[in-house]
């Protein structure tokens, strides 16, 4: 180790670059993520610049990020490290081009105040400000009154925030503000804690003021935290300050550069919204299918059980700040649910889970279903599993999903999940956070349900609206998708291709319609597909399927109302429905009888039902139907 001049970290990309191998940028990105020392990161940055010079650049994004770096220090070579981290942040696809403005040494105050400065000429999207540490020491004496010391600290903080405000107002740029590292120097001993005049305590007060008073356009680069985590003794290098006015030690520059890149990435992408977790050996120890609900390890009776419980508590705390929790497990669903319902030491309950996928299908497929149900992109999901094979499958078949591989030790789980930094909130008022709120509608609906004992009152309170429409060309892909994917609420499970759906639209002996539903919490989209065929005076329901998200909402009643209305327009005397049992559609076994149909025959396991009383009044429901199928056609 000690004889290595440059650590191994630059070797592989160097080789790939020499061979002009297209994996160079992926490798560069991966190594940048693990590089921890200045030499490592500088070597990678040199390779990146060299590749560009050789014309081996990758396609770069259309919108360059314009970043200004200003401060009370020499900002070379920090600017280079920041640029490198930003440009390599994306492993694949287009790189983020960065255009930099590097402020002059200790000139940030005038660069901000002077309206004609280079800063404003440059027109930055973001400004990183590293204020001078020399401006953040108490100018009086250690034994001055506490109120005088604190007043000066607050002044420094408010002046700095005012500078940021000016810069923001003039550029509309996001401001990334570095707060102050705490000194590692021994003097004046533990007395530092007893006076606000020591640099230690003084900077703590300034940092507190900055953090608690900063408006939302300021992202804090928490150097105090970073240097404490890194070790304050190693974060500062006096020689580097005297020689070239460096703010931090060479290796600590790396930490700050990575933090700035992380903050900038967060400004553009927003945080993740869903954490999808495995169950066995992730939420509890053991395998519930084998060990039974009494045999799993969870709770305070063993150290391992405590560790799993702590992990559940952490997940619960994520849900409390708006992260949605989903289950994605290879399991028998009935068994998988049991611990949530029955185990007294479980922290998480079914009400904490917005989507529960426990089956034997590939997890990548289940994650796709979770994304569909929540109406979110795959890239908003973070998948957490202890099984490397499952993580690999998701990486390959659902590459947009971020994955966290848990190790063998549950006491490490919280740290491993936090390491990815997927769920760090930016501000409580930001657009990202509002967006998260919007996806909590489902759980809001559940809360409303538990708060109202009367189902009818609950349904009325939802203020549901439905739009019924004959098949429209634009809906065909979604219709075909539902026809080919719906298994549970699907009476005949009859599959049709897009072409066959179009054929139904053309054929006048068919009547096909869809239902869209929305309520006061949001829009469910297209949730039901019905295809009927008219045969003389009989109208046969060939397909009736619905999204399970709208069960118990009286959509069934409105579907039958619509079918009866359509039957009347074609002078049909009988409506015939069919239940074709499959292993998955047990939930609709009793649907037709519930809708007033009578069983007339059984045919090869299929049950045929008929409704002949077509004069009785239509069913009442809490849904306001705003449009009906074939309206234009029939009114014409």
């Amino acid at each position: 180790m000690s004889n290595e001049i440059v650590p191994d970290i630059g070797r592989e990309p160097k080789q790939l670059l020499l061979e002009r191998d297209s994996r160079f940028y992926e490798c560069l990105s991966d190594q940048t993520r693990v590089a921890n020392t200045f030499q490592e990161l500088a070597a990678l940055s040199t390779l990146r610049k060299r590749a560009a010079k050789l014309g081996f650049a990758r396609a770069s994004g259309t919108n360059p990020l314009r970043l200004a770096i200003i401060g009370g220090y020499s900002l070379y070579p920090l600017h280079d490290l920041i640029q490198h981290c930003l440009e390599t942040a994306d492993r694949t696809g287009e790189g983020q081009r960065v255009e930099l403005l590097v402020g002059d040494y200790d000139n940030y105050i005038s660069e901000i105040i002077q309206e004609t400065s280079r800063l404003y000429e440059f027109g930055p999207d973001a400004i990183f400000v590293i204020p001078s540490g020399r401006h953040c020491e108490y100018s009086g004496r250690l034994f001055d009154s506490r109120s005088a010391q604190e007043a000066q600290a607050r002044d420094i903080a408010s002046n700095l925030l005012e500078l940021c405000r000016i810069a923001h107002i003039r550029t509309n740029a996001e401001i990334i503000l570095a707060n102050y590292p705490l000194p590692s120097e021994r003097d004046p001993g533990a007395y530092r804690t007893r006076t606000a005049g020591s640099t230690w305590t003084f900077r703590k007060i300034v940092n507190l003021e900055l953090g608690l008073s900063a408006p939302s356009f300021i992202r804090m680069c928490d150097v105090e935290f970073l240097s404490a985590r890194f070790g304050s003794l190693n974060a500062y290098d006096a020689r580097a300050w005297f020689e070239s006015k460096q703010p931090y030690s060479a290796d600590f520059l790396v930490q700050v550069a990575k933090e700035v890149a992380h903050i900038v990435a967060g400004m553009r992408q927003g945080t993740k919204k869903v954490v999808a977790v495995d169950l066995d050996n992730t939420l509890w120890g053991g395998v519930v299918g084998d060990d039974g609900v009494d045999g799993i390890e969870i709770g305070d009776t063993s150290p391992r059980g405590e560790a799993f419980k702590a992990f559940q508590l952490y997940l619960k705390s994520l849900t409390e700040r708006g992260i949605l929790l989903a289950v994605c497990s290879k399991n028998d669903k009935a068994k998988a649910i049991e611990p949530f319902e029955k185990h007294p030491d479980m922290v998480l309950r079914l009400t904490d889970i917005v989507a529960f996928k426990a089956n034997w299908e590939p997890k990548s497929d289940n994650l796709r279903r979770i994304a569909e149900e929540l109406n979110l992109g795959m890239d908003s999901i973070v998948f957490v599993d202890d099984n490397p094979a499952e993580v690999e499958i998701v990486r390959q078949f659902a590459p947009d999903v971020c994955t966290v591989l848990l190790g063998p030790d549950p006491s490490d789980y919280i740290r491993l999940l936090q390491e990815g930094r997927y769920f760090e909130p930016v501000t409580l008022t930001s657009e990202d956070f509002d967006r998260v709120k919007q996806y909590q509608q489902e759980s809001d609906r559940e809360k409303l349900l538990t708060s109202s004992t009367d189902m009818a009152a609950y349904l009325r309170s939802l203020q549901m609206r439905a739009v019924v429409s004959e098949f429209q060309g634009i809906d065909v892909p979604r219709i075909a998708q539902l026809i080919n994917k719906s298994n549970q609420f699907n009476l005949t499970t009859r599959r049709r291709t897009e072409a066959e759906v179009r054929a139904v639209m053309e054929d006048t002996s068919y009547l096909g319609f869809t239902v869209r539903l929305s309520d006061r919490f949001g829009d469910y989209g297209l949730i039901a597909v019905i295809i009927c065929r008219v045969d003389g005076t009989t109208l046969e329901i060939e397909t009736w399927l619905m999204s399970c998200r709208v069960l118990e909402r009286q959509v069934e009643e409105e579907v039958i109302n619509e079918i009866r209305r359509l039957a009347a327009t074609r002078d049909c005397k009988v409506i015939r429905g069919r239940y074709v049992p499959t292993p998955k559609n047990g939930i609709v076994r009793g649907l037709y009888p519930r809708m007033g149909f009578t069983e007339v025959s059984t045919d090869n396991g299929q049950i045929v039902f008929e409704l002949r009383d077509l004069v009785r009044p239509l069913a009442e429901s809490a849904i306001r139907v705003e449009r009906r199928a074939y309206d234009q056609v029939f009114s014409a």
Partner: protein, 80 residues
């Protein structure tokens, strides 16, 4: 150890840190090498310190005019 052998041992350090091949000589300095910028200089000096097991005092490196001076500085450190 001589100035020449120190320069000899500096060659692999420069080979590792710089991408373009550079022949180390006592007259060589940053202005002769395009990629020897401020970033590379910090990397080079950190690598030199590590490679020879020495630590330069504040201002010492800046006072060297070329690699010959740097080799002399390293020699002084090593002889202490």
């Amino acid at each position: 150890m001589t100035r020449f052998s120190v320069l000899d041992r500096l060659q692999p350090v420069f080979d590792e840190v710089l991408l373009d091949p550079v022949t180390v000589s006592s007259e060589l300095s940053a202005k002769d090498v395009p990629e020897w910028d401020s970033l590379t200089n910090i990397s080079l000096m950190l690598a030199v310190e590590k490679h020879f097991g020495v630590r330069f005092n504040v201002g010492e490196v800046e006072a060297t005019k070329n690699l010959g001076d740097l080799a002399d500085l390293i020699l002084r450190k090593l002889s202490k």
